[in-house]
Amino acid sequence: MATKLKPVDIVIVGLGWTGGIMAKELADTGLRIVALERGIQRDTDPDFVSVTKDDEVRYVRRNELMQDVTKETITFRNNTSQTALPMRRLGSFLPGDGVGGAGVHWAGITWRWMEWDHEAYTRTVDRYGKSIIPADMQLQDWGVTYAELEPYYEKFEMLCGTSGKAGNLNGKIVEGGNPFEGLRKSEYPTEPLVRTQANLLFEKAARERGLHPFPQPSSTASQPYTNPDGIDFGQCHYCGFCEQFGCEANAKASPHFTVIPLAKKNPNFELRTRSRVLKINLDSTGKKAVSVTYLDARGNEIEQPADLIILSAYQLSNVHLMLLSGIGQPYDPATGQGVVGRGYTYTNSGGATLYFDENTHMNPFMATGGTSSVCDDFNGDVYDFAELGFIGGHQLSAGHQGARPIGYHPTPKGTPKWGSEWKAAVARSYNHTMGIGGSGAVMAYKQNYLDLDPTYKDAFGRPLLRMTFDYTENEYKMSNHAADVAVEMAKTLNPKSFTRNTKSGPYSIVPYQSTHNMGGALMGTDRSTSALNQYLQSWDVPNVFVLGATSFSHNSGKNPTGPVGALALWAADAVKNRYLKNPGPLAPS
């Protein structure tokens, strides 16, 4: 039997980027807030200032900061004709675990998504008509525009000390920034990161091909910075142990030293670590959440009643908890009915690897998550969908993110897989190689979705989340196009040799690709195709808000945390200034 605790006003499930933002924004209301986080607390000092933090075996190969699949995992299949099998080991993506979530060990790349991304359906149909949309593609709008989110994007960048160069400042196109970005009201809080040799080569090739390169916006502070909340950031060390590692300098923005300590300053806020939420409990009408059930550090089952519940447990866990708790109707791919689990999307890629001679020194180990240069010439709706034959676009970039040798020891095409020749190629290539990578959009399709697995269970006896996902022609064409452009750019740079890299064959859960899982509880203005309204509030259970990329109706060619953070701030604003004053639906259904 669960121990039932005294009610509180708000429960936050999962304390990473989105939960941390919500906690900080609501903490000064004086309401009693409890955050339940399944993982442990880690702090920059002592956890990341120690050199043991720079351990590729421990953190990349053994995933110490990530979700433990022996406790919770998913099952996966490419399509409904297969039997989904458990993801027995982490691979394709790495959900975070612990206070700060994946914000502790992300790469810091921070985008505002393009205006098109927020209104993908309307802007596509306005320009091309409905006929351009493939029959199985579920293209839809967010219900909130870029212009509406602009102040929240700005607030998130200020919070994070994001480095970069504006390309569209109040409608004026600025040389050196991204000319295709939506209008920004202000410059980035810190200057762009140092340009590396790979960045310069990419920029040269891009300009020669008439493209518009600019420095990667990144939440690794390029100079010491104090954010508007008074949180101090150190200057980035370019130490090369960034993505998948904690940061020793507090240069990489993370909730664990920004929003979470601010929330903790309020006595009405309480964080309970090692507290894993199993379920949200609804009342008999099924339209109101009354409590959450969780396991505490000693494994005791606890019921915590609350008036308002914020789900911020990362995209996959959010959808899992909604399905387990009966929040919203599960999606059925056969009929297209239902909304929870609908529109699961992921990452696409294509590019080239360039091998130079000994006179080009990349020093790939001097890097941070954001030491890249980028082009948006084929992203969003900058290019012609009809001409190129795909929707969504890709973003080309180049630069190293660190070169830890277990994971990074590229060899040119034709090199044997092992032996002396292989070793010679490894030694020859290590410091003289760069990639030009296209990070591509993945659109939502009728057949790609999330539901509960009929067979496999997690360590707590709950059915695992089942993922059914594969790419379609739209993604393969995009991947090939990215590779074509990358190859053209490679030729301009005249390397000793290069390889062309594309997506081919079905999506595989095995190699790491990105932790950019999207969708499953989309936001929108039509409750027949979205689980959440534009304030990330459940249509069906209005005292539940669901934060994170769960709400994105496609994955753009850009990393998600910029809009994830902006939307968390947008939702926090709506909760604080509207919902708490008058609890109930914030949008007409």
Partner: protein
């Protein structure tokens, strides 16, 4: 793969130790045999000092010999740089298999089990330690049937050919799928070879020196611009150097 001649026969490791006059076989030091052999065959790298290596925590001597014989083919000692054996990779593998990874930490092992598609990833009920142990026995049986010798007693060329068959899934093994066994062995080999010496491999950071990786604990805030497109020749640092 390996460029060495097929007729460079590996000597049975216990006998070999006698041949080169190691005083007491009972104090057999894992990791030495093949490295010593390599030196004797003139590949230009000094054998590590005898007695400088710790013993095994998990592998038995035959398994250790098997892994040495395999990784010596995968990453031989040559004029480019150190081989996997002299780099202590077998020690790395031994410690990994004897530790949390080997016993299935962060590996979901609930049934039911079925093979599935390659895109669905690892689907066997074995922990990594069980997989490697079973795979070694399987490959030895395979070698015995094919060449009437244990894998470790085969020539470099024959070992290379068998590893290739495993990698390509052409060999059928009794217990574990060949490709999956090889994949694990090759991953572990690369981890030990390229990883931080604190874990037992990459002896003297020689692999990092070979490729030019400056190691851990670095602050490149100034160097990143100062050394842009220039060599950065520094002595690498490992976690151990800070300990």
């Amino acid at each position: 793969m390996s460029k060495r001649n097929d007729d460079e026969c590996a000597v049975d490791r216990r006998n070999f130790l006698k041949v080169i006059g190691v005083a007491s076989v009972s104090t057999t030091i894992p990791g030495v045999a093949i490295a010593a052999e390599t030196t004797a065959m003139g590949h230009g790298h000094a054998a590590p000092a005898l007695g400088s290596r710790p013993g095994y925590v998990f592998l038995n001597l035959d398994e250790g010999g098997f892994i040495e014989a395999a990784i010596d083919v995968l990453i031989p000692s040559d004029s480019t740089g150190p081989g996997a054996v002299e780099s202590g990779v077998v020690i790395y593998i031994d410690r990994q298999l004897g530790g949390a990874y080997g016993s299935g930490a962060r590996l979901y092992l609930q049934g039911p089990f079925q093979e599935g598609e390659p895109e669905q990833g690892y689907q066997l009920p074995f922990t990594p330690a069980e997989l490697i142990k079973a795979g070694i026995a399987d490959v030895d049986a395979y070698a015995l049937e094919k060449h009437q010798k244990n894998f470790a007693a085969l020539s470099l060329g024959d070992r290379d050919a068998i590893l290739k068959e495993l990698d390509e899934g052409k060999a059928t093994l009794a217990t574990v799928p060949a490709k999956i066994f090889f994949g694990h062995l090759w991953s572990l080999t690369q981890e030990g070879y390229f990883g931080d010496p604190i874990h037992g491999g990459n002896t003297d950071k020689a692999v990092w020196k070979m490729i030019g990786f400056p190691g851990v604990g670095n602050i490149y805030t100034d160097a990143i611009l100062e050394y842009r497109n220039k060599p950065y020749p520094v002595e690498p640092q490992s976690i151990q150097d800070f300990s």
